[in-house]
Point group: C2
Chain length 342, copies 2
């Protein structure tokens, strides 16, 4: 906004929830603001106790962190010695590679399939060859929005070399029905992470958690910031869990928004990727045309993003907005495309 000199922006670029946090979470956080002078519970005791039964595990299997980015940093720091190799899909959520590079690791990548799906066979083949310390998988994936069924994830996990840990980033899993997700699996070689940033609408609060063995949690415990999670974020997360109707409403509304984007893309004769997240990738045929659309949209006050690496670099990624935002986005995208193709 500052750089473009825009007064207001159609903010559809960061996969934030357009629907805000739960009103009961807002009320719970507002009531506790006068006690923000107190540190948050370093153990996140209440939140872990509320999360454990949802995941069919014990509190000891859960570590709360300041968002998935924080937990991802802990995993890379703990499990990727300097010079060791990590493996990920080329162009997937970039903070993983940021941490790998930042901790002097070596990142190897496998491209997406041309249809935007994660190349499971390619990841397995690469892992067997390079024997990475960590394999990163976002499922549903960001930025593609594509999703691997539970069986595929299970097969990937089982096919990995025994020295490889699977870091399973489930930031968008709340948008997928429980039955389609990998069942609970507590294993030394598996760290699953979830967030309150997406379906719970608390991106600005910085709170997420990992599920793994008690031993892996203890490893995080040795290096994490003991008082690192905002007190109010813990309170809001706990209140959010108690307001499932709101989260379910967000999931439904997000699904409706995806359908609208699909229709919009269809009406513009653009292919698109079916998504299980709160964003949709629309295909503009070439990387150049996609970049031109992105730039024109920015000039029109629309903030969206474009995957940088092939084959997804021909797409533009749009977060699901509110109904009026989606309508306005349709108007501006139509105009941007006309300008670009003129």
């Amino acid at each position: 906004m500052r750089e473009g000199g825009h007064r207001s922006l159609l903010r559809l670029g960061a996969n934030e929830s357009a629907f805000g946090p739960s009103p009961t979470a807002v009320a719970a956080m507002a009531a506790e603001l006068p006690r923000l002078s107190w540190y948050g519970d370093p153990e996140s005791y209440d939140l872990r106790a509320a999360l454990a039964p949802r995941h069919g595990c014990a509190s000891e299997n859960i570590c709360v962190g300041a968002g998935i980015d924080d937990l991802m940093g802990l995993a890379v720091r703990a499990f990727l010695a300097a010079g060791r190799t990590a493996l990920a899909t080329l162009g997937t959520y970039p903070t993983f590679s940021y941490h790998v590079v930042g901790y002097s690791g070596n990142l190897q990548t496998v491209p997406y399939c041309n249809d935007g799906s994660v190349d499971v066979d390619g990841l397995v083949a690469a892992a067997r060859k390079i024997r990475p310390a960590i394999v990163y998988l976002a499922n549903p994936d960001n930025p593609s929005g594509t999703f691997l069924a539970a069986e595929a994830v299970q097969q990937l996990f089982e096919a990995l070399p025994k020295e490889s840990l699977l870091f399973l980033d489930e930031a968008y899993a709340d948008f997928v029905e429980e039955s389609a997700l990998l069942p609970q699996l507590i294993d030394e070689r598996l760290i699953r992470v979830r967030t309150f940033s997406k379906a719970y609408g608390m991106a600005g609060a910085r709170i997420g958690y990992s599920v793994s063995t008690a031993r892996n949690v203890e490893t995080f415990q040795k290096i994490r910031l003991q008082y690192g999670v905002n007190r109010n974020a813990q309170i809001g997360a706990l209140a959010s869990l108690a307001d499932m109707p709101f989260a379910q409403y967000i999931v439904r509304e997000t699904a409706a928004g995806r359908e609208e984007y699909y229709s919009l893309a269809g009406s513009l004769r653009c292919p698109f990727l079916r998504s299980r997240t709160n964003f949709v990738c629309i295909d503009f045929n070439t990387r150049e045309r996609a970049a031109a659309v992105l730039n024109r949209l920015l000039q029109l006050g629309v903030f969206v993003r474009k995957p940088g690496a092939p084959p997804l670099d021909r797409f533009v990624r749009i977060s699901v907005g509110t109904a009026p935002e989606r309508t306005e986005f349709g108007v501006r995208l139509r105009r941007a495309l006309e300008d670009v193709d003129r």
Copy 2:
């Protein structure tokens, strides 16, 4: 509280502000809670712009982090290669040594002087001998509460080997008059850190900042969590800076609280350390007696802490509470001491 089975606790152990955040900060944060679904500004642009003139520097000299613990971790990670040595006072704020150990560094220490002051000459002598990559100084110090005048800090800084970076933790500097503090000094070998946790009463928000060269800020920029600072914490910090009368009230009230603790200690014939912070260390002669007082206080529902390392292990550290809390603490301390000495 959980472990002791206490219903309520006189919470005077974590140097939190007993006076809460500024009411205008609370109002500003409450108003923005519905937008907590948005990530905070990754650049903390507005907050840095508000801080820069207070420190006589540019925004480029400031890095905002999720509290001093976060910034301290960045400094150790960036400037202390594995196996290299850091230097600190034995028993000072423990998160520094936590990070040094966590990043495979080697911590060397110099004890406090017997009067609880930091041994500047000892630190200089040790630094010249071991040539540490980082020297840590908390000023005012925690847990002693003692303070080094600007000249002493300046002399320490100038006497350090050229390869040593001084990490100057000024968490409690807001309780000291500006004129007594080290003047602004932008130097590649100096990183000063401040927090909103103490005088601004926002410990639970996790927000602090460092002041150094633009080059050092860029180094942090390469490894920090880009979206790591809670959005509401940024809003509250900005609003707090605009409410200096509140911060000044906290500083005055804290000074009054220290005086009360001094009187209390005197009436119990206990020596104490004059403090420039929001806590006071009371001397119970021996480590055993101090431990007994601490344990008895815990049984009486008072949460305070005791420095672990000599020579400060004969002290108990009490955070300044509200006026009623201080009165109640006096009653319970008197009782605890009677029980211990019976």
